[in-house]
Symmetry: C2
Subunit: 465 residues, 2 copies
Amino acid sequence: MQAVQDFIQQNKKRYLEELFELLRIPSISADPAYKGDVERAAEYVAESLRKAGVDKVEVCPTAGNPIVYGEKFIGPDKPTVLVYGHYDVQPPDPLELWESGPFEPVVKKTELHPDGAIFARGSCDDKGQVFMHIKAVEAMLAKGSLPCNVKFMIEGEEEVGSEHLGIFCRQNAAKLACDTILISDTSILSNEHPSITVGLRGLSYVEVEVTGPNRDLHSGVYGGAVANPVNILCRMIASLQDEDNRITIPGFYDDVLELSTEERAQMNKAPFDLEHYKKDLGIAEVRGEKGYTTLERATIRPTLDVNGIWGGYTGKGAKTVLPAKAFAKISMRLVPNQHPDKITALFQKHFESIAPPSVKVKVTPHHGGEPVVTPTDTPEYQAAARAMAKAFGKQPIPTREGGSIPIVALFEEVLGVKSVLMGFGLDSDAIHSPNEHYGLFNYYKGIETIPYFYQFYADGKNGGM
Amino acid sequence: MQAVQDFIQQNKKRYLEELFELLRIPSISADPAYKGDVERAAEYVAESLRKAGVDKVEVCPTAGNPIVYGEKFIGPDKPTVLVYGHYDVQPPDPLELWESGPFEPVVKKTELHPDGAIFARGSCDDKGQVFMHIKAVEAMLAKGSLPCNVKFMIEGEEEVGSEHLGIFCRQNAAKLACDTILISDTSILSNEHPSITVGLRGLSYVEVEVTGPNRDLHSGVYGGAVANPVNILCRMIASLQDEDNRITIPGFYDDVLELSTEERAQMNKAPFDLEHYKKDLGIAEVRGEKGYTTLERATIRPTLDVNGIWGGYTGKGAKTVLPAKAFAKISMRLVPNQHPDKITALFQKHFESIAPPSVKVKVTPHHGGEPVVTPTDTPEYQAAARAMAKAFGKQPIPTREGGSIPIVALFEEVLGVKSVLMGFGLDSDAIHSPNEHYGLFNYYKGIETIPYFYQFYADGKNGGM
C-alpha cells in the first residue's frame, strides 16, 4: 500500500494534466449541439482506462449517449467492485457569470481551498471524481496490488436522467455482476469533517406550458379582458405551496417516510453553521418548510422548485404585449418512500385541475429518479468508512444529501446490489452553477482514499475485518 | 372636394407603393441596434412631406430619436390642425410566428379584409395611419383646396414612452401652436361600424428583479432550504390580484373614475359579439374583473399584466438549477383619474413590502402615460364625426379604447389643446403581435375621410356648421 501511495504522490502533476484534458471537452448532454463532444469525452475516458491497465475497454453505443465499460479481473476468489460515474456535464449557462471559461480549466485559490481548486464545468460533477477512480486503479495496477476485481461503467446521460442506462444494465446484467457499486458523485461535509452519503433525494421533473389567446395580443386593447398566461402561470405556481411552504398537491406527502425524533436529533448534530451558510450564499434569511431545520429541509424533506420560467417579451425596454404562452420547468426533490412516477402523475393531475377555463395547460414529464437510503452495516460502507478514517485521520459521519443519483435505486433493482456513495466534493463547489470547482485537496485525497477502500473491502469480504 | 377625392382614387397604387417603402424600414425604437433604421424612417417621412408640398420640413434631433416636423400655412384666418403620429414600431418578436417577413410588406386577403390587408410591422401602428395624413394633405395641396393651416409632428419614440417629446413640445410651444391635434393611432369598431375614440387608458410600466442567493445553486443540494426567486416572484405576482381579479395594491383604485350606470349601459350598447371575440382569440372563456363586461374590462377598468417573465434555465432539456435571479416586466393600464407616477410609486412600495426577507427586490420604472377622456362637444370632434359619416355613410359611435397614447394628456398640458382621435384600425389588426396588418379598405378610407375633416373643421371654426 505504501508503494501505491508513493506512486500517487509522484504522479500528481500528470494526474491533474490528464484531468484537464477531459475537462476541456464540453460534453453537455442536455444540448444536442454537443453530441460530438459527448462522444469525444467517452473516447477520452475509454483511453484513460486502457492506459491505466484496465482490460476489455469499450465505448458501448446506446440509443442515447455511449456508456464506457472496462474491467480488470484479478481472481475468482476476489470480490468485484463496479465503479459508476458519468462523463457528461450540466450546461454552463449563464455563461457571463463565469470568471474563467467553463471548459478552460484553471487552478485558483479560494477561502475554502487555500491549496487551490480546479475551476471548470464538471471538475467536481463528475469528471474529477470519475478520474480519481481511474487514477487510483492505475496506481494499484502499476504496483501490482489491486486486491479486488474491478469493473467500470461511466455513462454520458446522468445530467439528463440516465435514460438509456436502465436498458443497458438489463441487457448486460451478467457482465455487470458485482458485489458492490462504488460511486463518487456526492459531497463530504467539509475537508475537516469527512462523511459518507447514506441518503439521496429522488426527482420528478416536469415542463409546463400555459396557453391563453392564439397569438400575442396588445395589452392595451385586450388587457383586463383576456387571461394573461403569465399571470395565470404565476398564480398556479404560487398555489403549489402554502404559507408554511408545504406543497399543496393532494397526496404529495402520503408516502413520505418521516424520521423519528431521535433520527432527526442525530442528523442535526452534524457540523452546520447557519450564519456561515447564509453569508456564503449572500442571503439575509433562509426559507423553507415550517417545522424543519435547514439541514432537514435540504435532505429529508421533499421540495418544489421552479428551475426556469419564461414568457412574453424579455428583451430590452418595454413591450406592451399580452403573451399567448408562458412556460416553466419545475422539479420536485423526493424523499424515501415517494415514487417519481406517482408524484409526476399527482402533479400533472393537480396542475391541470387548477387551470382556469380561460387557458389551456400542457404538462410534459422529463426524467425522474427514485430516492435512496443506503445501509451502514454493509461490508462496502464499513470499508468506505475505514478508508476515509485512514486518509482523513477522522471517522466519517453518515449523512443524507439533497441531490439525486437516480441510478442507485435502479442498480439495486436490476443488479440486486447496494451502492456506497463515497464522494469527495463540497456543497460549496458550485456544481450546476457558474464557477464550478473542485479542490486539489479533494481530488488528491480521493485518489489516496480509494486504494484503502479496495484493501479494506477485500479484507472484509475475506472475513479479515 | 370631388377633385380631391378623384385625385385620391387615381393615385391609390402609388400611395400603397410609397407606404411599402416606409414599412420596409425596421424602425424598432425599443432596440438600440436599429438606431440607424429609425433615422432612415424619419428621413423617409420628411421626404414624403416635402413631396406632398408641405413646407419647412425638418428632422429635428432630440436626445433620443428625431421628430419630423413640417407645416403648410394657408392664411391667418384659417384654423390650424396639428397632425401627430409616430414612425417607430414595436419589436417584431416572436419572429417565428410571422407568416411573412415583418419588414417585407405584402397584401393578403383575410376574413375581415376580403379586399386585402397590408401585412407588416407598423402597417396599422402607426406608419400606415401616418401616411394617410400625408397622402390626404398631398391630394388637397395638389388640387389647391387645403382649407386649414396644417402642421405635422411625427415622432420616433411612441413605442418606448415618448421620452423626449415633452421637452420638444415645451421648447417649441410657439411653433406648435394650433387649434386642435388630429391623431390616427386608434381603431374603429368595425368597417361597418365607424367610431371615434373618446377615451384612452393610461400606463404605468415597471421591471422587477428578485434576487435570492448570490449565484445559481444546485436545486438538489439547496432546494427546500433557500428561497427560490422564481417561486417567490410567482407568489408576489399572484398576490397582486385577488380571486375577483381585482388588483390588491393598496390605494390602486382610489382615484378611479367610476362610470354611472347610464354611461355603462350606453357603452355596452356598442356592437360586440362575445362568441366571435372568443373564437377570434381561440379561447374558451374570457377572464377579468368581477362585475364588469368584457368591453368594460378592456376600456374603463385598470389592469395589471405581466408582459414578460424570465429566470433560470430556459433551454432544452432539464437543468436542476435554483436560480439566483428572476425578472418580470409588468404593466398597469390606468383609467381616468389615475396618475401613472402615483400608481408606479404605489406599486413599488407595495411590491417591496411583500418581498420576504429571504430575497432582495428591485423595481425599475419604465415609461408611463396619463389616461385620457376627450370631449364630444368640440368643433374637432364634430368635424371628425361628420367626416366619418360622410365617408362611411354611417354615424360614428364614440368609444373608449384600452390602449394608451400618453401624449394626448401631454399635449393638453403643454400646448393647451384638445386632441381628436380619429383612427381607422381594427382591434383584430394584431398590432404589437406577429402578422400585424392594416386593411386596404381602412388605409384608403382614411385617406378619403381626412379631407372631409379639414373641410368640416374649417366650416365649423368659421361658424358655418
